[in-house]
């Protein structure tokens, strides 16, 4: 019980934020391996950055882990097949991010044959920092918390930026989601292993794993393992949204503020998600690139909420069917958590690398409230973890006052949704600010 004692004494957090209901219905549900899909749709862009070019053609027979998309730029990541079978089409297909994306459609042959090139990279000690970065790139690993930023890019800071801290984000502050929690419970050694690999890749001495205090079991498990390592610490975080926001996490753990408009590396920190860390560990240990991920299927609209290990490219529909299907008519299907997830207009979209969960809400729960006039209660101001004035920004956005919005630091908004969540008038603050951000960026590009 040593872990919990420290947690009581030393809970860290950030300023601002909100307390949405946890709704973590699936936290005690072990990760379940999903059925092999019959057909996968693998988008050639599952990351921030340039899309991949297909390196297979229609009719090709391919195997699990075989590369099917080659990245075209530095900020990019390759894409691999998640099943063995035949390429039936390379065409644009709806993508959970919104726009249609060129995707490779593969029909599974059911054999699940592993590609010959997939073999373990060997012991961590035998790998150099560059080896690790290369294998991460080759494995197509991207930030799996949802941002999908290519991981090796994060691990290759420019030489003038000295990185001294690696933080593993196990906060999982989004309500409903438990994928990271389960991963920490079921694969704790992978997390530690992955963290060590990242620290080695960056040549960093300090590793932290930040976990919210509503996951005492994970804290305990990882603390025990961390005790055996002399430079890894588990940090207990207050359960508050958005504790897992990169900048908030760095602030909570190191007390450093990432400069406005800057990246974490500017304060010497790199943050990696639990899922990403696990993927790195898996890649090193087995050589298997990123072809599957753990996600939480949950919400009032599914019959049996679960944590599942799903192959990339499986359509949402199939995943939901394995959880007992819809509970009545679904109102909203969301990729990710309820605070930052993306609402989907179709369940035909595939699971991608950044799909941390599929949240289905019933018609009832998906009901939207009519916005009321702002009463300037300033709850959004209190909640904003970036210390912005959301109500003001939303007003500027409404009146197309983009210059003023820029002056009021609209670009510092992390779109965490705290303001919209607390707003008693139910004003779509985040959406308004997002619009302002896009307009400001468009205006800057013009210049």
């Amino acid at each position: 019980m040593k872990g919990s004692e420290t947690s009581q004494m030393n809970i860290k957090t950030f300023k601002g934020g909100v307390h949405p209901p946890h709704a973590k219905f699936t936290k005690d549900k072990p990760i379940e391996k999903a059925r092999l899909p019959e057909k996968v749709i693998i988008p050639l862009q599952q990351h921030i950055g340039a899309p991949c070019e297909p390196v297979v053609s229609v009719g090709d027979n391919i195997k699990v882990g075989q590369k099917i998309g080659e990245p075209k730029g530095f900020v990019s990541a390759p894409v691999h097949s998640s099943v063995s079978g035949k390429v039936v089409a390379i065409e644009t297909h709806p993508h959970p991010i919104g726009s249609d994306v060129l995707s490779v459609v593969i029909e599974s042959d059911g054999k699940d044959e592993v590609f010959e090139g997939v073999k373990p990279y060997g012991d961590l000690d035998s790998l150099t920092a560059d080896d690790i970065k290369n294998l991460i790139r080759e494995s197509g690993i991207v930030g799996m918390g949802g941002a999908t930023f290519p991981t090796q890019v994060k691990l290759s800071p420019p030489p003038d930026k000295k990185i001294d801290t690696v933080i593993i984000n196990g906060a999982e502050c989004e309500p409903y989601l438990t994928a990271d929690h389960r991963l920490m419970l079921e694969k704790p050694e992978n997390i530690i292993f992955g963290l060590k690999a990242i620290m080695k890749a960056l040549g960093v001495e300090n590793g932290y794993i930040g976990i919210e205090d509503n996951k005492p079991d994970a804290i305990e498990k990882l603390s025990k393992l961390a005790e055996q390592e002399n430079n890894i610490k588990v940090v207990v975080l207050r359960t508050k949204y958005p504790q897992g926001g990169e900048k908030q996490l760095i602030y909570a753990i190191t007390g450093r503020e990432v400069p406005s408009g800057g990246l974490p590396m500017e304060v010497g920190a790199v943050v990696q998600n639990v899922g990403t860390t696990n993927a790195i560990a898996t890649a090193i240990k087995t050589g298997m690139p990123l072809i599957e991920r753990v996600l939480t299927v949950t919400g009032s609209g599914v019959k049996q909420p679960k944590n599942m290990l799903v192959r990339i490219g499986t359509p949402f529909k199939e995943v939901i069917e394995q959880c007992g299907g819809f509970n009545g008519t679904p109102g909203k299907v969301i990729m990710g958590g309820p605070m930052m997830g993306l609402a989907q207009s179709s369940v035909e979209v595939p699971v991608i690398k950044g799909t941390s969960g599929i949240l289905v809400l019933t018609k009832q729960d998906a009901k939207m409230f009519e916005p009321r006039p702002c009463i300037k209660c300033a709850r959004c101001v209190d909640a904003c973890p970036a210390y912005l004035l959301p109500t003001r920004l939303a007003h500027f956005s409404e009146k197309a006052m983009w210059d003023e919005a820029e002056e009021y630091n609209a670009l510092d908004c992390i779109e965490c949704g705290s303001c919209s969540f607390v707003c008693p008038a139910k004003i779509p603050l985040v959406q308004r600010i997002r619009l302002a951000k896009s307009q400001i960026i468009a205006k800057r590009k013009k210049k």
């Binding site: 605070m339 006039p373 300033a378 003001r392 630091n409 949704g417 707003c423 008693p424």
Partner: protein, 308 residues
């Protein structure tokens, strides 16, 4: 068919269950102890004034919105608050028709002409009161004694014009002349406690407001306890200076708001023409609230100071 389609919205997808209505009704509940005490001390006419104001406020708002062809939003409770607050700011013996005039002014000039809830720069109830004070100075300064319903003066008036102090206990429980709502500090504190517990008001404004009055009255050699409990300071500090719409949205702005209002109260009470300055102090600070919002913008997370 349309119904079977999935809903798409921007994130977030869940919301806190507080709403404008809940906040408004919370404030109404918090005002009940003061209202009840008012009726208890001043009798049925006080009750008549309260009811008149509330009904007039709601009707006026509904009619105005109808005239503008807007959806009628009287159910949100904001008109009720305006009416109730105004009533609590009236002398208990005021003719009812004056209360009606004040309420109509409060709702129309104070609120609706700016576009309704959320847009008014000044606290509507105080606009109504200031209008009445300017229009009917005699009626608005005729106070009734809670003891025998005869004409009397407020403790502040007694102090200012005749130098007669009032004992603390009477001030605290409200056995004094004054407006319907301001007499009983006890009842106000009960309501305020509820609001603070619910998180519907920010403690910064009442604290800085009352604190400033206490400090300044002490500095100028007056009795701070008397000045805190006498007059409309308590009612103003907890129910009007905390009106979300007309007060700053930044924390620093709220501190300044409270301190500024405190200074104004003391200036008006000690040297001004009126014995009481709570409502004017809040109105004046309402006026500079936009400027406070503008110049007290918080430092953005990670904002780097220039030249640093």
């Amino acid at each position: 068919m349309e119904n079977d389609k999935l809903v798409i919205t921007s994130s977030p997808h869940i919301f806190d269950d507080d709403s404008v209505e809940k906040i408004m009704y919370g404030v109404i509940i918090a005002l009940l102890p003061a209202s009840i005490m008012g009726v208890y001390y001043f009798g049925l006419h006080a009750l008549l004034l309260i009811v008149t104001c509330v009904i007039t406020a709601v009707l006026t708002e509904a009619l105005f919105q109808k005239a503008r062809n807007y959806p009628v939003t009287i159910k949100d409770g904001s008109a009720v608050i305006t009416g109730l607050l105004l009533a609590l700011n009236l002398p208990p013996g005021l003719p009812a028709w004056m209360a009606v005039v004040g309420t109509v002014v409060a709702i129309i000039l104070g609120k609706q002409i700016f576009g309704g809830l959320g847009h008014n720069p000044f606290n509507p109830a105080l606009v109504g009161r200031a209008f009445l004070v300017a229009s009917f100075p005699v009626a608005m300064t005729t106070w009734l004694s809670p003891v025998d319903a005869t004409t009397t003066a407020t403790p502040l008036g007694l102090m200012k014009l005749e130098g007669i102090p009032t004992d603390y206990w009477s001030l605290f429980i409200g056995k004094i002349g004054g407006t319907i709502g301001e007499t009983s500090a006890l009842a106000i504190l009960i309501g305020a406690g509820y609001l603070l517990y619910k998180g519907y008001i920010d403690w910064r404004i009442p604290l800085s407001y009352i604190g400033t009055v206490a400090v300044l009255t002490t500095v100028f050699g007056r009795d701070p306890i008397f000045h805190i409990f006498a007059g409309g300071l308590m009612l103003g500090a907890f129910f009007m200076a905390t009106d979300m719409v007309t007060t700053p949205i930044t924390k620093k702005g709220r501190w300044i708001f409270g301190i500024g209002a405190g200074i104004l109260v003391v200036v008006i009470r000690l040297w001004g023409g009126y014995p009481e300055g709570a409502s004017y102090s809040i109105l004046l600070m309402n006026g500079i609230t936009p400027l406070l919002n503008r110049y007290t913008r918080p430092r953005v997370f990670g904002e780097v100071k220039k030249n640093a």
